[in-house]
């Protein structure tokens, strides 16, 4: 019954042997049990998944866990993937699903725990100036007020710059629906952004944040 704390074994070392082949052959290799395939799929798509999640939820302490969860979900259900060449889009879909669940859960928790709805999400301070930091915080505070599907569509299309068709596929909906969703999201975002001084200045044509390339 008793389980005192104990030392955990070191994490396994990733194979240094690179895998050659497209996504379809990688998926087939994974299904065959090729030990290099798991690492290769991660190496190939980890940045993409991280960026997509980051756009949707902003910087948060749960980002790394969510990232891990997406890969675990994807790889554990890989046998069900009908078209191995569509692995990246399928992975994106899982990331969207994970982010949607996370955002919804956070909103429920806020409601349950009497947390103000204006809660600002975490932002990495790093080298960003206070104003840039506030801009990031304010942006995700505004996104928090949008319906979750509109927020996700907005983040993927406008913050990430994803193609409309890819956004529709990731959100598992039609192109027409995603366009309507984006229209609503843009209007709502602008209305809410104008309530945030740092964002309003930008929308009014100010250059307070400067050019990121200049920082």
């Amino acid at each position: 019954m008793s389980r005192p704390l104990k030392l955990v074994p070191p994490l396994p070392i990733a194979s240094k042997v690179a895998f050659v082949g497209d996504d379809a052959s990688l998926v087939q290799a994974f299904r065959r049990g090729d030990p290099r395939a798991r690492a290769a799929l991660y190496e190939r798509h980890s940045d993409h998944v991280h960026r997509v999640l980051y756009r949707m939820i902003g910087f948060h302490g749960d980002l790394a866990d969510l990232h891990h969860d997406v890969f675990v979900r994807a790889l554990s259900s890989l046998p069900t993937l009908a078209d191995p060449s569509a692995f990246k889009g399928w992975l994106t879909m899982i990331a969207v699903h994970a982010a949607r669940t996370w955002i919804t859960r956070k909103k429920r928790l806020k409601w349950l725990w009497f947390v103000p709805t204006e809660e600002l999400p975490e932002a990495p301070a790093s080298a960003a100036s206070g104003e840039v930091l506030h801009a990031l915080l304010a942006t995700y505070a505004v996104l928090d007020r949008l319906p979750v599907d509109e927020r996700i569509a907005f983040a993927l299309r406008f913050i990430d710059g994803m193609e409309l068709t890819d956004v529709a596929a990731a959100c598992e909906t039609s192109l027409a629906t995603i366009k309507r969703r984006l229209d609503r999201a843009s209007a709502s975002f602008e209305a809410e952004a104008r309530k945030q001084p740092v964002l309003e200045a930008w929308l009014e044509g100010g250059s307070r944040w400067g050019n990121p390339g200049d920082r």
Binding site: R3, L11, H68
Partner: protein, 457 residues
């Protein structure tokens, strides 16, 4: 696409660019890959086999119906049966009862075993109570005596130990704590893991590190830190002066003024077993010839000197390597030394390097105060207070943050937001120090506040 739409999309693109530049948010690929390679995919397959597929409409309908049935069943079960919480046993056979006082015999310790494998040992003569249990942990109240805890770490583990006026937050660890209500002395010694202590002198969350012992006397206004002695006895109180700290009182503890911050005497690390008192003396002598560093000056409440010393030592370099606790101290020294910018830098770094930690949450509140009091940036202050409240809704600064949120919303002239904040404040703290002000905000209705009528807390 109209002008405003272009502005929104342009703004969003700029946000993406800023995100890409933020170093703190970059993916740790090496760690992520190692974690994935260690993951049990077979175990997750059963849970997640259906995830990620694009379900058809009929599948969705069936899923929705099934979900409705499941939700109704769960609601029924929840309505009929309480959620499974940890159970615990006393001694060898007695089942523990939540809320009842537990007293250890005068000559023997009393083991308390929890169903998650966590083990507690109440020292002879001790008196404690399991105040509550949940699926993820328990709340223990130690009335007197010593308690040895070995808490098993699991996902979302959350234990709280109330010891006199102090609270110990535990995730998974092994430590001892004690409380003597007569002498009002609190002690905690951490053997493994990490805990935070909150209460008098230590504020909201003072991290205690493995191998560290912390002793606080609320009667004498003293606080001592040192290493856990190898013999598991209370560490010897050193009477020699400590480097970079003033000569302590004969007892080894330095009396402190009732007003914060309490001064801390850092004892030398424990010496190996068998060390003699002369070894101890050798270890702490001679006094360092170098001028005192910023940390020592900050402990001496010489904040301007501490800030100047930090600048000499390299403020940026300190920020990049300091512990969370030191960053907190550095931020306080800079703030009280007169540099709001340096203080904000330290606290922002603290939040970036130690996200999710109690110190990071406290930093949010302090950043709010800096923005409000020194920068007169009320929107920024509101953002930080809101952030703090979201991270620590029951934290030591929660009442102050909620009250200050009313102030800054009112100061910004946003009557609706100010009233909303005031109502929330009054609901949570009807007799709080900001209650009168919150009531005045509500009574004023939607008429914006005249500048300068805000009242200091």
């Amino acid at each position: 696409m109209g002008k405003s739409r272009r502005s929104v999309t342009d703004l969003a693109q700029r946000v993406g660019a800023m995100q890409d530049e933020a170093r703190g948010a970059r993916l740790d690929r090496e760690r992520g890959l190692a974690r994935l390679l260690a993951a049990d995919l077979d175990g997750a397959a059963g849970r997640d086999a259906a995830r990620g597929r694009a379900p058809t409409l009929s599948v969705r309908l069936v899923t929705a119906l099934a979900a409705a049935v499941v939700i109704a069943s769960i609601a029924l079960v929840i309505g009929l049966r309480p959620r499974a919480s940890l159970g615990f046993e006393l001694g060898t056979i007695d089942a523990g009862v939540v809320g009842e006082w537990i007293a250890a015999p005068p000559a023997a310790e009393l083991p308390i075993r929890f169903s998650d494998g966590s083990r507690l040992r109440l020292a002879p003569g001790g008196r404690a109570r399991v105040a509550s249990v949940s699926a993820t942990g328990a709340e223990i109240a130690l009335e007197r005596g010593a308690l040895d805890l070995e808490v098993v770490h699991r996902d979302h583990t959350s234990w709280l130990v109330r010891v006199g006026p102090f609270q110990i937050h535990v995730i998974g660890t092994r430590f001892e704590t004690s409380w003597d209500p007569v002498t009002e002395q609190f002690g905690v010694a951490l053997r493994e893991g990490a805990i935070t202590v909150s209460g008098p002198f230590v504020g909201e969350a003072r991290a205690v590190h493995a191998g560290e012992r912390l002793t606080i006397s609320t009667a004498k206004n003293t606080i001592e830190t040192g290493a856990i002695d190898a013999r598991a006895e209370p560490p010897p109180i050193l009477t020699a002066p400590v480097v970079q700290a003033p000569v302590p009182a004969p007892s080894g503890a330095v009396p402190v003024a009732p007003s914060p911050p309490a001064r801390v005497v850092e004892l030398e690390p424990a010496l190996p077993r068998g060390s003699t008192s002369s070894d101890v003396a050798a270890a702490i002598a001679p006094p360092a010839p170098d001028p005192p560093g910023w940390a020592a000056l900050a402990l001496d409440a010489k904040y301007k000197d501490a800030l100047a010393a930090a600048e000499r030592e390299g403020f940026d370099a300190i920020c990049s390597r300091a512990s969370a606790r030191d960053l907190h101290a550095l931020g306080d020294a800079a703030r009280l030394g007169g540099s709001a910018a340096r203080s904000a830098q330290a606290f922002n770094t603290l939040r970036a390097r130690f996200p999710g930690s109690p110190d990071a949450a406290a930093a949010a509140f302090i950043l709010g105060r800096i923005a409000q009091d020194q920068g007169h940036d009320y929107a920024g202050a509101a953002a930080w207070y809101t952030r703090y409240l979201s991270e620590q809704p029951g934290g030591a600064f929660a009442a102050d943050a909620a009250g200050r949120l009313v102030e800054v919303e009112d100061r910004m002239g946003d009557a609706v937001a100010a009233q909303r904040a005031a109502k929330r404040y009054l609901a949570a703290y009807p007799k709080g120090s900001h209650a009168a002000f919150a009531e005045s905000v509500i009574a004023r209705g939607s008429h914006p506040n005249a500048p300068g009528t805000i009242r200091d807390p």
